[in-house]
């Protein structure tokens, strides 16, 4: 299954290199849901996530000739999505002030009345983080970037990345406790 899919993506890669609209559309259909899942973590809502997805795929099709086959095509596309998300975040940051830490703690609790934690609940938690925390936590905890890389990507110091990560974790933990109470504590262990 995994192998056959990889072959398909590689076949589409050739078509995309020739700028064939059909191959582009098939590649999009194949990866859009997965990539939107990535974009959702970086965006504050679904609309922003779809904007990032759109921009990311346009970049993929425009830059596909630069893809050097180091690593998988899917991984390359995913990196483009993440980079696009970072771009959008930095662009927004120039226009908006960073949300205060206090504001993060004061965030109202909403829609966390599920017995079992699911991906979309965790996603909601991440999406409710302030921009900087969300970026650092996503890049470090989920994407596996180093603090040095994060600092370079976001234009902050390595130390700032570290402190933002620990604050992001603290906010997430606090919310998890408030949300699920004992049930969640048992579930997590």
């Amino acid at each position: 299954m995994n192998l056959s899919r990889k072959v398909t993506i590689d076949e589409l890669l050739d078509g995309c290199r020739r700028s064939e609209r059909r191959s582009q559309e098939l590649l999009y259909k194949l990866l859009a849901s997965k990539m939107l899942g990535v974009c959702m973590r970086y965006a504050k809502d679904r609309y922003e996530a779809e904007d990032i997805l759109q921009m990311g795929f346009v970049k993929v099709f425009q830059k596909v000739k630069e893809f050097k086959e180091q690593g998988s095509f899917e991984g390359w596309i995913r990196r483009i999505m993440v980079n696009t998300a970072i771009e959008v975040y930095r662009k927004n940051q120039r226009m908006l002030n960073v949300v205060d830490i206090d504001e993060v703690y004061d965030m109202p609790q909403e829609m966390f009345d599920m017995n079992r934690l699911e991906a979309k609940d965790l996603l909601a938690l991440i999406q409710h983080l302030s921009g900087g925390y969300r970026m650092v936590f996503n890049l470090y905890a989920i994407e596996g970037y180093s603090h040095k890389e994060i600092g370079e990507q976001l234009g902050i110091t390595e130390g700032a990345s570290k402190s933002q990560l620990s604050r992001a974790r603290a906010v997430l933990k606090e919310k998890l406790i408030k949300m699920e109470g004992a049930t969640h504590a048992n579930y997590v262990g």
Binding site: R21, L36, G37, L53
Partner: protein
């Protein structure tokens, strides 16, 4: 929860979210395809091009407003034109100093153009009449010694009433001479047309009306300006409005045109 390490905590989120998929709305592919189809269109309206265009517009506006020097020089050349023609038309007044006549004419010219109210027009002609009378008094001492012997001889033969018209008609003739002069000045003004705004702004900007006239004259090169102010005893008044379709001018100016 408290026992959970940061690494475990991160791993928990990563495992939960790694395979997370959300189907995008159908519109997204259409937007991507649209963006891929016409990349040129996006470039045309890019902020960089808009910035470049705005710089060009600002520079063009800058050059436009830097122009006032030339029109004023041209105007200065035109002022002297009516003067010789005026002098030719009345050889009688040779005794009037050559320097004085053009000054007077340009003053009258300006009066005729600038004054708007009926009263002012009347005042303008009144001033002229006074001047003509003054000129006559100046001239009379020159002519009177020659005329008086004639008048005396004529008195003997002809009736008194016949004599009287002679000096009176002489007096009247000068205003008659002057009327064409005014007409000439006005004709010139009408012909100049474009230089009219420059004339108006020339006496100096003393009031808000003058300032507006000056600015409007720079921008609006039509004969009838978008808005036109003029001075009279009551202060600054709007003497003309031209909105293309709608034209309003003070009565006095309508007569002239």
């Amino acid at each position: 929860m408290q026992t959970m390490s940061d690494k475990e905590f991160d791993a928990f989120f990563r495992e939960k979210l790694d395979g997370f998929e959300v189907a995008p709305s159908d519109a997204v592919w259409g937007r991507i395809a649209g963006e891929l189809a016409e990349p040129a269109k996006k470039r045309v309206f890019s902020p960089l091009w808009m910035a470049a265009a705005s710089v060009v517009v600002i520079m063009a506006a800058g050059f436009w407003f830097m122009r006032p020097v030339k029109p004023i020089q041209l105007r200065a050349a035109n002022v002297t034109e009516p003067a010789p023609r005026v002098e030719q038309s009345r050889p009688v007044e040779e005794k009037v100093p050559a320097d004085a006549s053009p000054k007077k004419e340009s003053f009258l010219e300006r009066l005729a153009q600038l004054k708007v109210g009926k009263n002012n027009q009347g005042r303008g002609t009144a001033v002229m009449k006074e001047k003509s009378v003054e000129n006559d008094y100046v001239q009379q001492p020159v002519g009177s010694p020659e005329e008086t012997p004639q008048q005396i001889t004529v008195l003997a033969t002809e009736t008194f009433t016949d004599i009287k018209p002679a000096p009176v008609s002489g007096k009247l003739k000068i205003p008659d001479h002057r009327k064409p002069v005014i007409a000439l000045a006005e004709d010139n003004a009408a012909k100049e047309g474009d230089s009219e705004p420059a004339e108006r702004s020339r006496p100096g900007i003393k009031t808000v009306g003058d300032l507006v006239n000056f600015v409007v004259a720079k921008v609006d090169k039509r004969k009838d300006k978008l808005i036109e102010f003029s001075e009279n005893e009551e202060g600054t008044l709007i003497s003309g409005i031209n909105l293309g379709v709608l034209k309003i001018k003070a009565k006095n100016e309508d007569k002239r045109n």
